[in-house]
Symmetry: C2
Subunit: 243 residues, 2 copies
Amino acid sequence: MTYCVGLLLRDGLVFAADSRTNAGLDHIFTFRKMKIFEKPGERFLVLMTAGNLATSQAVTTMVSERLDEGTEETSLFKATSMFSAARIVGNALREVIEVDGDHVRAESADPSSSFILGGQIAGRPTRLFQIYSAGNFVEATPETPYMQIGETKYGKPILDRVVSYDMPIERGVKAALVSFDSTMRSNLSVGLPLDLVSYRVDSLGGPHHRDIGEDNEYFRALRRDYGAGLLDVFDRLPDPEIG
Amino acid sequence: MTYCVGLLLRDGLVFAADSRTNAGLDHIFTFRKMKIFEKPGERFLVLMTAGNLATSQAVTTMVSERLDEGTEETSLFKATSMFSAARIVGNALREVIEVDGDHVRAESADPSSSFILGGQIAGRPTRLFQIYSAGNFVEATPETPYMQIGETKYGKPILDRVVSYDMPIERGVKAALVSFDSTMRSNLSVGLPLDLVSYRVDSLGGPHHRDIGEDNEYFRALRRDYGAGLLDVFDRLPDPEIG
């Protein structure tokens, strides 16, 4: 199972993805669900994916192969806007579903995948998109500043309570990590390590990526303190009177 | 949309259900999703339902009509164990799906429904079951003391953190209400009023039911204080260092 979340903030973007696929007792693969496409000083794009793993990998491979040889319409390195970049991913997804879809459905499996794409091209605003399996997409806005794909529901209540477009990036990272904590507690097939990227507007590069595994001190403390704090809040709420 | 939760505790049972169906901007019906079957001093059963409303209502009507005229195998008033009672509901569900299922599927709709059934028959233990649309069922245990149906995921993380078989009933009620708060914040189609029932082991009757609407002071204070407390916990967590 997969969980990915992206935040659009005034100061930048936050991306987080787990890395567990095909989870089972004796059959756990770890594949990265996040890919960074970067030309320092010119553009910085992050792509995350959930859903059918073969579809996801085919799309990611396809857009990777077209970075240099492609055109403005097919290369994430040549797209002139983030909107065009989202369309490139959506079109690649349509190509894959067109070729593989019926064969996968014939096996009673679901070929669909979805993506979160965010980033910035020099001189243009940061943007964040969610691309559906049909290849169309929606964009995050200051009023709806986050996008989720995969196992989205367990981690949504905390985002609804704390995320706002105006929050500092550090606080956005904290929110994404608490959202992952809730998800991992309720669905054991969403697992560590996490890929975490924070991006500051107009930085267009630099060391953004962080790999968060079992031994990450900050995340361990965050999980422990959040859980204890939440229990404490619950304890202090008055009990109801029942008959 | 529907959300129902049932808790099996050492001291008793807790049941909570919302009442919103077919939610939409100009098309909101309120139907009760909880039904109590009670013979004071002899038995106390609570049935909650989620899923296709026609199926849910047909099953509820069917078991209601058979209370007096039915046999040990078909009447919730004559069943000799809670296990038999769960089988009665499962069998009624199979009858409804058998008759209506193909017609509903022909309209590209889903005829399935699920149920939570809990209660006690005099001299026997309290038990809690979740009945699947196939008519089979699973039972709550001290290790897995809660059951959810409908829109279950938003309200699950808080239950995973706070619910235990040993908690007092008052605390169980509080946990169920906080779980509803999280669900209603993330899915606007789960709405008030809530039906809430708490049952103490061996009481076999009495005034258990509570209707929780917009004007319920306790629930309003709980929502406000829990939200504020959780934000405070989040604020006090240290921010991560990002590059």
